[in-house]
């Protein structure tokens, strides 16, 4: 994925296998139709520590439906989409699958970027960097407004072929208190610390207004919980229509 940054990038997060086990291909086609710039495909986990109730619930349902990593790859192999895909998930299911095998499969289905929220920069560099490099997969690291400048620069360097994921505020996903206003200056600093690496904001972005507010200072934003809620009530198309018009 080479992210075009001529316009604010819209990314959508969804949980694979939610609400129905085989929904992913149809969902990806819809997101493509609405011109979403990239999609984060969430790997469901039993104990998603950084997630609020909406994504937790979608994970639980996806697992009950029988979703597993091997099936995600199978589904991704079968879809034919021009929208770049990012895999996002907690480390444990990936470690059980095998990091080597995970990266090989990701590469095989054309996924070049992963977001692993509970993998720190330090542990990545010690244990996994070599193998990520081998498969040409880029980890997109999370930073927050409170992350130190040095660490932000480092994240930007390691994620340079992808993006830096800027967590808008200290909160689990789906939280309503997006405090864009008083943090705007910090967002701009983060953007400048990241240099050429795109900065995509996530957590708390839920509609056109919050998307527009978020992308004043950075390159794009990710909508997660709000889209999952729309999926849950079968209103995903209406949701996308208020963000963008179809291609």
């Amino acid at each position: 994925m080479k992210l075009k940054t001529t316009h604010p990038l819209l990314s959508i997060f969804l949980t694979a296998g939610y609400p129905q086990l085989n929904d992913l291909p149809r969902q990806l086609a819809l997101l493509e139709k609405y011109g979403v710039d990239f999609v984060e495909v969430g790997i469901p986990f039993s104990d998603p520590l950084a997630d609020g109730p909406v994504i937790q619930e979608s994970s639980t349902i996806a697992l009950k439906n029988g979703m597993q990593l091997s099936l995600i790859f199978q589904q991704l192999k079968a879809v034919n989409t021009s929208v770049p895909l990012v895999l996002m998930g907690y480390l444990n299911p990936i470690l059980q699958f095998g990091m080597d095998r995970f990266l090989a499969e990701a590469n095989h289905v054309g996924v070049k970027h992963v977001v692993l929220p509970d993998l720190s920069i330090e542990i990545y560099e010690r244990s996994y960097k070599e193998i990520f490099d081998h498969y040409g997969v880029t980890p997109c690291f999370l930073v927050t407004p409170k992350t130190s400048d040095d660490r932000i620069r480092k994240a930007a360097r390691l994620s340079e072929k992808g993006f830096v994921y800027l967590v808008s505020t200290n909160a689990t996903t789906g939280s309503q208190h997006l405090t864009t206003l008083n943090l705007q200056e910090r967002y701009r600093e983060v953007k400048s610390l990241c240099g050429a690496t795109p900065v995509i904001m996530g957590f708390g972005i839920r509609d056109k207004a919050t998307f527009e507010a978020a992308t004043v200072d950075v390159d794009g934003a990710i909508i997660g919980s709000a889209f999952i809620q729309a999926l849950g009530s079968g209103k995903e198309e209406e949701f996308l229509a208020q963000l963008k018009s179809p291609k």
Binding site: F45, L95, I123, T147
Partner: protein, 396 residues
């Protein structure tokens, strides 16, 4: 010299440990690590901690020679009476230490998870003592089976917040506490066992190490030697075991036995015997042994004892068990209940059901008459009487 207690610069004991946390918690963990590494060497901090342990907790706790167990099992069996600590379990050794640290870090709200409620009570107690606000996360199932401790926490001024996700036990209470911490980074998360991201396992083990420090002194008086032959402790997350083993890890002639909850039996699918059933993985911020399915989803454990009903163990235990330094044994619900009742009838001590697992391990050991055995009596069983009564009604 290499010690089993050494961690590397990322907080790993061998292959286990580390800090697998979302970036959101990084500042909290760094702040804690700095404060801990400073104050653990600060004379004033240590003085205040030691004097509270003495005058408030009631330490040293006795090392009691159990004539009855000794006669039954044919060895010299001592009970380290952590049940006599203020609040009724070893948990308070740790909460007093962490609350002093929290105070120095300028924190005013404490959050904690609890299984059996003993850590919740010990946290509520420490908060009352130091004028801090206290929120305790507890699985809905545990709220039911450890009701007396819920009352105690409330009476001490703490708010008990039910965790309703997953199996509604300790794992889920810990998830909820971590999520709350992410949303409220100004609070201090007071973890109750040697689990969680580095530096928690190391810190909690140090605060509990007073247990083996005292055992060494007390044995010298009673047996003329500092080292027992065998130390036995139950393991939920593993804090009482870490404390009881601490000063013996690097003394190879002391046999260390960690007792896990077999539940209805290790192979029944209703068990919490993590080291027998678990494989390496990440839970609650550290790489350790944990119970999971082939897809890496964490599975629901079972134990009659809320404090052992946890699918992981602390990374120090994962390290020392995998390397063969510590031997793990599993004891079933029924064996624990029997061992608890036997101690009540013969010694007049009602142990916690967690502790009863350590007692139940005696049946599985071959002992010599001169063996000096120390069992860590981690807590008292008042909180479990309802669970025990239910069980008796069901089986009689």
């Amino acid at each position: 010299m290499n010690s089993y207690l050494d961690t590397d610069e990322l907080g790993f004991y061998g292959d286990f440990g580390g800090a697998y946390i979302p970036e959101l918690l990084r500042p909290n963990i760094e702040e804690l690590e700095q404060a801990f590494s400073y104050y653990r060497n600060d004379a004033q901090f240590i003085d205040e901690y030691k004097s509270l342990l003495k005058d408030y907790v009631g330490r040293p706790t006795p090392l009691y020679f159990s004539a009855k167990l000794s006669a039954t099992f044919g060895a010299k069996i001592y009970l380290k009476r952590e049940d006599l600590c203020h609040t009724g379990a070893h948990k308070v050794n740790n909460t007093i230490g962490q609350i002093l640290l929290a105070k120095r870090m300028g924190k005013s709200t404490i959050i904690a998870e609890t299984g059996a409620g003993q850590h919740g009570v010990a946290t509520a107690t420490a908060c009352a003592l130091s004028g801090m606000e206290c929120k305790v996360f507890m699985g809905e199932k545990d709220i039911e089976r450890q009701a007396p401790n819920v009352l105690r926490m409330n009476y001490l001024g703490a708010e008990v917040i039910p965790a309703v996700s997953g199996s509604k036990t300790l794992k889920d209470a810990t998830n909820e506490a971590i999520r709350y911490w992410i949303n409220h980074p100004e609070t201090f998360y007071l973890i109750g066992s040697v689990v969680g991201p580095h530096p928690y396992p190391k810190m909690v083990a140090e605060f509990q190490s007073i247990i083996s420090e005292e055992i060494r002194q007390q044995l010298l008086e009673k047996e003329g030697r500092r080292n027992p032959d065998i130390v036995i402790a139950c393991v939920g997350g593993g804090s009482n075991a870490a404390g009881a083993f601490y000063h013996f890890y690097d003394v190879p002639e002391v046999q260390l036995i960690a007792v896990e909850a077999a539940g209805e039996g290790v192979m029944t699918g209703k068990s919490a015997a993590t080291s027998a059933l678990g494989t390496p993985g990440v839970i609650h911020g550290s790489m350790t042994l944990l119970m999971q399915d082939q897809d890496g989803q964490i599975t629901e454990p079972h134990s009659i004892s809320a404090g052992l009903d946890y699918p992981g163990i602390g990374p120090l235990h994962a390290h020392t068990i995998s390397s063969g330094r510590v031997q793990a044994i599993a004891v079933t619900d029924n064996e624990a209940l029997e061992a608890a009742h036997a101690l009540a009838l013969t010694e007049g001590i009602i142990p916690a059901l967690e502790t009863a697992h350590a007692l139940g391990a005696l049946n599985q050991l071959t002992l010599n008459p001169d063996d000096v055995v120390v069992i860590n009596l981690s807590g008292r069983g008042d909180k479990d009487l309802e669970t025990i009564a239910k069980f008796i009604n069901k089986t009689s």
